[in-house]
């Protein structure tokens, strides 16, 4: 009883320390985004002002320019194609994640539950896709794509994005499936279900939180990719990451539009992360199942 005030003071001090740490980290992580956001609301002249301005009259010119291709502040809009790139990114990234889920989830289940030859070798091969830096394999892939006619196609892009999304989904989902106790599936077997019904009715619903967080994670990884789009795509299939680079042109850099494009680019990730936050936290912090 006696040392309660002191205990409280100690607790408070600890809390203050923890929270100030969190605040410091948030400033470190979020300030660049905040600064780009400010940039996207400034005119080019204000952006390059040698003393950065925190107070200015915000303008939506940059957004209008990238979204509707309007003339902004006397500068010719060089990239009214932003909408196309954004659409490309959406198609390629969601396509890649969907294909990876369709292929990777059953693969992960097989790796977690069944015994077969070369099982670990296959699993390792999936993981090894992530070993080599993309830049090391991009030239051969480029050559192959040219001869197969996959260059500058959505299908080609979705295929090459499997290098990013598939290993992630296979390996994380394998862990979730392994967390389901054998006895639950055995119980379902004795209850009179085939392995496929068990997969559909028992195993898959049990890993749903994990599935959601893994899908989001691979979506973000794929969305942020730059090099595959740059080399294997052209104007018709450029993802938004490559497209944003187009604001750097020979004669000038359109900082304001670039900033606006960046803000729009991160929007889907933020929206999805918010919607799925519940799953994300639960999926990453806890095991999938506790009976």
């Amino acid at each position: 009883m006696k040392n309660r005030p002191r205990q409280n003071a100690k607790d408070t001090r600890k809390k203050v320390l923890i929270y100030s740490g969190i605040v410091l980290f948030l400033i470190f992580a979020l300030f660049p985004i905040f600064w780009i956001f400010l940039m996207s609301l400034k005119t080019d002249k204000e952006i390059i002002a040698s003393i950065p301005k925190f107070f200015f009259r915000p303008t939506l010119e940059n957004y209008e320019a990238i979204l509707f291709g309007l003339k902004a502040a006397g500068t010719e809009t060089s990239r009214p194609d932003f909408i196309l790139y954004f659409k490309n990114s959406l198609i390629i990234t969601s396509g890649a994640v969907i294909v990876s889920l369709l292929v990777g989830v059953p693969a992960a289940y097989a790796l977690a539950r069944f015994k077969f030859k070369f099982k670990e070798d296959i699993a390792f091969t999936f993981l090894s896709f992530r070993f080599a830096p993309e830049i090391a394999v991009i030239i051969p892939i480029f050559v192959i794509y040219r001869s197969l006619g996959l260059y500058n196609t959505y299908i080609g892009m979705i295929l090459v994005y499997q290098l990013i999304t598939l290993p992630l989904i296979v390996w994380i989902m394998r862990g979730y499936f392994e967390d389901i106790p054998d006895s639950i599936e055995q119980a379902a077997r004795l209850d009179g279900y085939s392995w496929f019904s068990i997969f559909r009715k028992i195993s898959l619903p049990l890993v749903k939180p994990g599935l959601a967080s893994t899908a989001i994670l691979s979506f973000i990884f794929a969305w942020n990719n730059f090099i595959f789009g740059l080399v294997l795509g052209a104007k018709e299939t450029f993802p938004v990451t490559v497209g944003t680079l187009g604001f750097i042109s020979y004669e000038s850099v359109l900082w304001g539009q670039m900033a606006a494009a960046s803000m729009v680019t991160i929007l889907p990730e933020i929206i999805i992360a918010f919607f799925i936050q519940k799953y994300l936290v639960r999926g990453l912090s806890l095991g999938a199942v506790r009976g």
Binding site: S183, A187, G192
Partner: protein, 367 residues
């Protein structure tokens, strides 16, 4: 309701045999307990019967159907798992209805509802039907898993240590309920346990397994009163049976058992004489259950003087750890035994209840 037979069943994981050359015959409507210490191969045996594990050699059949692991045909057994194995994303009702919705049964929803409700009433879980397993206590989960098996009316129930995760009080209660249920069901039950009390109190017959090998099959009485060997004798009973090494003495044409230092001597029943003489055994082991040691305070012809002792009061029972010569013995009496430390303490052994084993550990039988 079906019989189960195992013929020369062997199960190997890699090269290590978990079960070897097992022959069992479980009769229809029998409550059959498979008992053994950890690693005896009990659960492997059960899973092979369920068709969850492949049989390396031999054959298992339920009724006239041969069990084939991973086959798609239905062998119609229900299993209760040690860890309950409830479906966490289903409510209690859905858990119990799940086996009834399988393609082998496909009951209509009214029938499913009435069956689930009947069973849940009898198990007193009808109030929890809309809850999820995570919201239930251990005992309630176990009832649900029991209920999931009962709604099916299967040919055979398999139970894999269903009570081992419950606390002592609940275990006792569930044991009683299983017994009640067992009388009502009229279905074969194969029950795996490492708890000898469960085995003795529930079983019609018990199979004792050790390291994958069958040691003895018999009724609880046979197993407890007439164990085949030292191993079986020492598994049943708490505190464990006292195993005392000694010699056979012949005095005035009567046979006596004597410890090597001569501190404990008591007569051997006449019925065993023939066998002892035929096999010309000298060194034998006497198995004395703690319950067949009487603790007395007065000297008498049959009494043996205790050299030193320690007593422990466990409420309803009173335990004695005694030393007589070079022999340690454990005895047990009802509470209210000898609380103060008397100067002299004696024991007398109920000689007709002593079991004798030869040097290989086999019990020496009459005749």
């Amino acid at each position: 309701m079906a019989s189960v037979s195992l013929i020369n069943v062997t199960k190997k994981y890699g090269r290590i045999p978990a079960v070897s050359q097992l022959n069992l015959e479980v009769k229809a409507t029998e409550f059959f307990v498979i008992f053994g210490p950890a690693g005896a191969g009990k659960t492997s045996t059960l899973k092979m019967i369920a068709g969850l594990e492949e049989v390396t050699e031999g054959e298992i059949s339920i009724g006239d159907t041969r069990v084939r692991a991973r086959a798609s045909d239905e062998i119609d057994v229900a299993m209760i798992f040690e860890t309950y194995a409830l479906y966490p994303h289903f409510t209690v009702f859905e858990n119990m209805a799940f086996p009834l919705k399988s393609k082998y049964r496909k009951l209509d929803s009214a029938e499913i509802r009435s069956r689930v409700e009947d069973v849940s009433r009898s198990l007193e879980i009808e109030g929890f039907l809309q809850r999820y397993p995570a919201e239930l206590s251990g005992g309630q989960k176990q009832r649900v898993s029991l209920g999931r098996a009962l709604v099916r009316k299967p040919r055979v129930f398999l139970m894999d240590e269903p009570l081992s995760h419950l606390d002592a009080k609940l275990r006792h209660q569930m044991r009683r309920e299983l017994k009640k249920l067992r009388n009502k069901l009229q279905t074969s039950v194969i029950f795996v346990t490492h708890d000898y009390m469960e085995a003795l109190s529930l079983a019609d017959r018990i199979a004792v397994l050790d390291k994958g090998r069958l040691r003895q099959v018999g009724t609880p009485d046979e197993i407890y009163l007439a164990p085949e060997d030292v191993f079986v004798a020492s598994l049943f009973g708490q505190p464990r049976i006292n195993l005392v090494e000694g010699l056979v003495l012949n005095q005035n044409d009567r046979l006596f058992f004597s410890t090597t230092d001569g501190a404990i001597v008591f007569p051997i029943p006449a019925g065993l004489r023939e066998c002892l003489e035929r096999s010309n055994l000298e060194k034998i082991t006497a198995g004395i259950r703690p319950t067949s040691i009487q603790i007395i305070r007065e000297q008498s012809p049959a009494a043996v003087r205790v050299w030193s002792f320690l007593s422990e009061d466990t409420g309803s029972k009173h335990l004695y750890y005694m030393r007589i010569g070079e022999t340690s013995l454990t005895g047990i009496t009802e509470s209210g035994g000898i609380m103060e430390k008397p100067e002299k303490l004696f024991i007398s052994v109920e000689t007709e209840k002593v079991l004798y084993f030869d040097h290989a550990g086999k019990r020496i039988r009459e005749g």
